[in-house]
Subunit: 613 residues, 2 copies
Amino acid sequence: MRRSIATVSLSGSLADKLTAVGAAGFDGVEIFENDLLGSDMSPEDVRRRAADLGLTIDLYQPFRDFEAVPPDLLAAGLRRAEHKFAVMERLGATRLLVCSNVSAAAIDDDMLAAEQLGLLAERAAEHGIEIAYEALAWGRHVDDYFHAWQIVRTADHPNLGMCLDSFHILARDVDPYAIRTIPGNKIFFLQLADAPALPMDVLYWSRHYRCFPGQGDLDVTGLVDHVLRTGYDGPLSLEVFNDIFRQAAAMRTAQDAMRSLIALEEGVAQRAGGSASASGALPPPVVPTGFAFAELAAPSAGPVGEVLGALGFVRGGRHTGKPVELWEQGAARILVNSGSAEGQDGPALGAIGLETPDPAASVKRAEALLAPVLPRLRGPQDAPLDAVAAPDGTEVFFCRTARPDHSSWTDDFAQDRSPAGAATGEITHIDHVALTQPWHHFDEASLFYRSVLGLRPHDSLELPDPYGLMRSRAVSTEDGGVRVALNVAYVGAHDGRDDLAWQHVALASADIVATARRMRAAGAATLVVPDNYYDDLEARYDLGAERHLLLRELGLLYDRDDRGEFLHFYTATIGRVFFEIVQRTGGYRGYGAANAPVRLAAQHARRTRRAPH
Amino acid sequence: MRRSIATVSLSGSLADKLTAVGAAGFDGVEIFENDLLGSDMSPEDVRRRAADLGLTIDLYQPFRDFEAVPPDLLAAGLRRAEHKFAVMERLGATRLLVCSNVSAAAIDDDMLAAEQLGLLAERAAEHGIEIAYEALAWGRHVDDYFHAWQIVRTADHPNLGMCLDSFHILARDVDPYAIRTIPGNKIFFLQLADAPALPMDVLYWSRHYRCFPGQGDLDVTGLVDHVLRTGYDGPLSLEVFNDIFRQAAAMRTAQDAMRSLIALEEGVAQRAGGSASASGALPPPVVPTGFAFAELAAPSAGPVGEVLGALGFVRGGRHTGKPVELWEQGAARILVNSGSAEGQDGPALGAIGLETPDPAASVKRAEALLAPVLPRLRGPQDAPLDAVAAPDGTEVFFCRTARPDHSSWTDDFAQDRSPAGAATGEITHIDHVALTQPWHHFDEASLFYRSVLGLRPHDSLELPDPYGLMRSRAVSTEDGGVRVALNVAYVGAHDGRDDLAWQHVALASADIVATARRMRAAGAATLVVPDNYYDDLEARYDLGAERHLLLRELGLLYDRDDRGEFLHFYTATIGRVFFEIVQRTGGYRGYGAANAPVRLAAQHARRTRRAPH
């Protein structure tokens, strides 16, 4: 399929937008009229620049409030159209989007609409231009595609066809199935946008919250499947109005948009019954099975090592070529890298390792979805590494740890058992990692983990932090072997505040009470949970006096869902990082979100109290 | 009236919030439960701290999902309540907010609801606690105050009354008139919030967009009037859930909240027929009649003077004690201050002078509404000045220019006619000034200009800038003598970008064509408007070929409304400042917002082109 994008989806000047669209590898572009009006590029300049970038101008848009009007307004509309046809000829654009009339002057008369659109198409034909008629979800009389199709069919003009827009159809819950009854050659254009499920008026939702397919909650894949079954062979074109994309860097947004289309095409091919690889050579997802490791960059290994030691980890190895320590307990492995530049401001979670059946295939998949591939060889003696960078800069390594069929990253580590011997604690594995995203890259991150790693996104949550609402969305494998919580600081948060970029590694304990006692015995600091939390917990749940007392004494937080229970506690924060210890029982699926406000308040309070020192 | 505020309205820890509430002069506070749960202050600590700050704890909230449930849930609810009563006794709080049940377990049975709420009230009475029952706008079966009142009336328990919340009532367009039928002693609490008219689900709207009374579009004044007529004499208490207030500085938000209540009380007194001054000693508004001057701070007077000279201004005076030039034309006066620290980064609009009938009374009004009053005497020889600071730091001077009944700021200026003599241009006066607000202080600014100066707010607009959506809201006197456009850069815009803080002074011309030609003849730079704009203008309006050509040649922008026309153009930007020249005909009331996207794109393009030099 040809891939296109509307200039309104990106930030900056028209020239900047064209450059970004070309750089991201699109085939074409929709010129949004306001972008042209504000530009000092003439239509001829735009045409040349697009051609230089290998872009066709697939659509000029929008032309508003034309059809089903009294004669005087019809005359004004035709006059206006002639001016636009002239601009389009200069641009070299042959398709004009006409949106269904929203003005109070529009008459509820389909025959009149058909007649006047036919007249417009006849005028357009004189310029070699086609009219693509679109039902806006908030059109005055025409607000769904099937109604628009009745009008187009009635007008019956070769230069008049349909523009279908996934948002306008799916946002109003109009059944898209009848799209299959429209002849493919009468669908002149297909615009695509997704959106998160938000309970608001459709116009307001459309103007502020659209996003790229796969980033929201609409079934764009299903809609495209319907459209392609008609024989439509025009472009898949993204048209997104989004407050955040309007201010984000255009080059990056355009690449994010391209990733969305690549993943969408795979989904459509799967829906249609074809295999993914048959459709467009996108290597199939290689779903990871668990965490191989989490790597913290730190100015020195000491403070992190103390916490890990208190948790029952032992230092199991040292990297043969770099100052990296490997701490182990059960299947949980933490690397502490004191030789990395990014760790100099205090520990930060810099990388995660994921177990996958085929590391090379994982990298191929990620690369096809535009993730930067990291160098395979870092030092002359190192085992080759398969790794890519996630949107927030986290390095994602694909591993087969200590398997006979593959080289293992652990081969780079020389055994280094501490005197205590093997780990004796209760930690079994890494339960999840929590990565804080910059507020303007949250949707991009969610699409990355979903499309590249095949993780399933969970509901998006809003968590009240004392200093703003945080958004949080988990992505996980079906069996929970890999779970990543994507958190985002509130919109507009100041970049400089390090407490907004907290990351954490959650470790699963087989006996969290024992682990908490172990920490206490080692004299290691844990996050102090306010007594008020326990008073409230007693009000909410009757867990028996003894258990309530135990939770309070050990500073354990409690949550439950319809499947089971969740106990957790937190270590002190070191730099940007802390550890969470969790115990899930009975199939609990969440992340203790109900306790997040109390946890965040306690962490901020701790920060505040430390400030005077 | 006693004034109170819910802790959820402010940012930070519970301790921070209490401090801010106390500092802003409130009488009481509602403790929002989550704020307590996340705090390491015990209830006794909170009680002591509040007492130290002179605050009573007026409400503990919220208690959810209690009434109209099966027996097992009732038992759990009563158990939960006993825990909360214990916390309230420790806090010294005697009133508990119970929200109407939203859970799926709630039964649609008013008698059952009344019976169970009566039981709760009976238990509460044993602790000296009163239950204030509130209808949430999204309650499962009880979602309006009148329904809630039927239940409270049926229960007929002395410890059970109503909590009324302006948002829950006005957001659903429930007629508040029937409030008058509720006995005042059965209204236990009154919560107040406003909200901008936004087309979305009421729960989503409530959680993110509430604001302080006078900052939104709800008739909070009318609602309070109804409530006071019942004889209610409890606190007026603000309860606002707002994404921006959650992250703004608590001290400032609390002061903004207090200003809102002071202004609200005046409005209520006026609505009730009393005079404003009778109600609470708030001096009445002194509505300004026009602009006395606009003052630009600049590193040197040269560049601004050149532009003003090209516009036909003459330098009419120099300040006798400071490096300030006075440029005049008609009634338009521009001060250029090259001795101010804030001008060192390039010209900035630092102050505006407003003509008022009584400068001292204007200051008294502003001071009563918590505006910082600026020193009256700046130098030993200066005329005394009446001035306050607006929320964005702009200094607002109240003037009587060259009137026999009052000292005049012009007395500080020595006459300094340029060789050209009196001004000969077409500029008649300052039409408006545009002040860019930090994005997290937009609502505060709008309330400031409305309450302090008595200006009327116009509709809030969203203007697409190439780098984000800008909000814009004008405030003006009824006759348009004073107009201020408040613009705000998009949420999350980076502080460091100077193009986000553009300010401008719009000058009215009696003949904008002559003024544009004058600029051209003087060789002065004006903002270049893209040709594409004029192509589109010809498509939209048929103004005749000659007029279209003239607009294009002179770079004039065009708009019209149902009353008249608007022509305007812009000078080049110097530092943070530019001038707009405008001509209104036939009663046009707007500010050319339709042209703002093109203007902003052109200004950004100019900035971009300059960057390489």
